[in-house]
Amino acid sequence: MKSRHHVRTAGARAVRKGLVGTMLLGLLLPLLLLVGGSSASAATLCLPKPDETGCISGTVGSRSDPVAGVDVILRDAQGADVETVTTEEDGKFSFTVTEAGDYFVVLDDETLPDGLEQQPPRAAIAGPDGSVKVTAKLGSAVSPIVEVRDQDYDAGGESFSDQIAQSVVNGLRLGLLLALASLGLSLIYGTTGLSNFSHAELVTLGGMVAYGLVNLAGMNLWLGIVATTILCAGVGYVQDRLLWQPLRRRGLGLTQLMIVTIGLALAAQYAYQYFVGASLQKVVVRDFGTTSFGPVTLTNLSFLAMGVAIVAIALVGFVLVKTRIGQATRAVSDNPALAAASGIDVDKIIRLVWTAAAGLAGLAGVLYALVISNGIRWDTGMQILLLLFAAVTLGGLGTAFGAFVGSIIIGLVVELAGPLGAPGDLKYAVALAILIVLLLVRPQGILGRAERVG
């Protein structure tokens, strides 16, 4: 979207403190040349004097792409024209005022090159008739933000239906990646009854490991993704071996276990910060380009990520439905005691679930860092934890296919919230609100079975 229009910023970054002083010497010469010049309307340089004059100056266009020969009109607080200057070759204009107060700066449309128009200023600095409000002070220079843009630029950039199409595809992408992570969360809940609050840290771990392998160690991306998944699966195995299995043997209650996962999540988040730092780290630096289908534009990496996610999810589905291990897993989910009685090694199944869940979460982490958050940070996982819980609960706690459906719904809701009118910052909140409403209507989730509780 960004590439279709063209915004030139003027003056925004122009006059910094001290800059005026250092530029003084270099400017004196052209100033001298201008003296005696006939053009009263040409921009003359302005040097503010304490208690006498103030300056309003800026650039039309950008420094690399200035717009010359444009009439810039200065109006006073009552809206009367005070002065008009024409921009120089470098796009610069400058007014000298002798009274402090509010002024309005506007470009003369007639003199703008064809195809360009002044961009309406943002609300905080907007004056009448598309002018830019600026408050001048004596003894200092201020710089109004005057921007120009292509005339055919329209605010939305694309039609509403195109936006919806793009959002739906983005939502599917987010949903698939959420599904990867929430499948594991749901399987763990199903087999052990544990709400794993540290699941998001496994997602972050995936991104972090990939950052280490691909970006720092220079491993091939494909190899990196596979290696990360295996490493994270290993972490899941070790976690169960060293922590969860002994705790199960100890007979710790589920609430206790849940608080253990919170402690673990806290420790992991700060450990990431400790070792990697608090800033966003990119997994790949290379740009893989984008592809468009009609109104929908996605990066090539996104297609890849969606493909990988679909394959992985299909694989998990196949294992769950068709294989003996999958049957055993579902049996443990249904009734661990009965499963154990019919000869299933419950501990082994749970170990397997932890391993697979951590591997899937790690894979989700790499893909998420690649295509959605554009890098990995200590709180990347934490930010989607509640979306994962919402997805799992929405689909029905403990049902793997419910988690998949729930994830897709949550992904679509999050991405569609913006175009459908929710303020940008609220898109996560909308997903959580839907969760709460659903619990009112259908507490067992979309695919869950109704079950009397209490």
């Binding site: 609430t255 919170i262 400790y274 609960t393 609220l426 507490p443 209490g454």
Partner: protein, 403 residues
Amino acid sequence: MDTILEILSAVIREAISPGTAAVAIAVIGLNLHFGYTGLLNFGQSGFMLLGAYGFAISLVHDIPLPLAVLIGLGLAFVFALVLGIPTLQLRGDYLAIVTISAAEIIRFVGRLSTLKDLTGGAQGIQGRTYQPAFVDLSFFGDGAWTLAPFNYTDVAGGAGWVRALGGLVFVVCVVATVIVGRRLKRAADPTRTAPRTGLDGTLGKVLAAVLVLVGLYALFFAMPVTYGRSGVNGWWVRAVAWTLVALSTLVVYLLVRSPWGRLLRGVREDEDAMRSLGRNVFAVKMQSLVIGGLFGALGGMVYVLASTVQPDALGRQITFFSYTALLLGGAATILGPVLGTVLFFSARILIRESARAWVPDSIMSTQQTEQFSFVVVGVALVLLVIFRPQGILGNKRELRFNV
């Protein structure tokens, strides 16, 4: 030696800070939810944030202070009702997920740039825009004041040994309190038939109270702290905050001793049994959620008295810290929340400052000491839940700990 004193001074300042008191109040509320009723409320930060917003925004709009407090409490009241109606009939973990989500929604809404005029967006509300209404109420006068006014500097010209003696008295008092406390607990244990100690219940309680007071005085005698009497970060705020902590503790003490308190425990232990006795379990849970939430809102208001209203400062993290503090002190105990909160914040500062002082920068930078302290907090929470789920003061038998 100086380094140690500096670290201890930082720890004591953190322990008595208004922020610690604020979290203690919120933890007292959480104790009612989690400790006594068995509700898994993971949205205590949402109650705090709502209280803080209601309070601060009202004050910014020149609403009188008592009314502002009521507005903050009212918001939390409504929030508790809205949360409770869909979830209190469901299993415990649903409540956990819904409360944490709802708290996040409040934070997201608070951060909205479209509400900038009201909530200040992500930047929050500056303290100076609402604090004067409270700070001006101070009748403490001006200037600085030291706790304790009579301290080691007044004896033998502030010699080192006087200070060390004060510290020693403090340590002795702590040890003695622990011993007396254990005996009291053993004597109160109904499963033991004959009391094996000579300590009568009342006498023991008085002795414990005296030991605590003497110990505290000895602490401030050896490590006096000085703040302005009034002002934004002075004794006035601290006095009000800790008075509120004491009042909240008293209220919860009276509540849980009442027949209603027994109802709470009954719901925690066996909902079905309560139902079969004809009790309205939903109503009891709702009352607990509302009352604990009001404490949360009060904590939120105290929290912003000495800082700013910043939505991200009152996020999930605060809820998790509250749980750590509660479990450290002991859930379902009267003094556990306060003890746990003070120890939690003091211990974190102790870890951080010690790491700053003694671990070289090449191994751990200043930034990393902060993160290190939080890693330790997380690991401590894990170990605590596994090895001593009843915390310092708790009774393992009372706390079955399953919802």
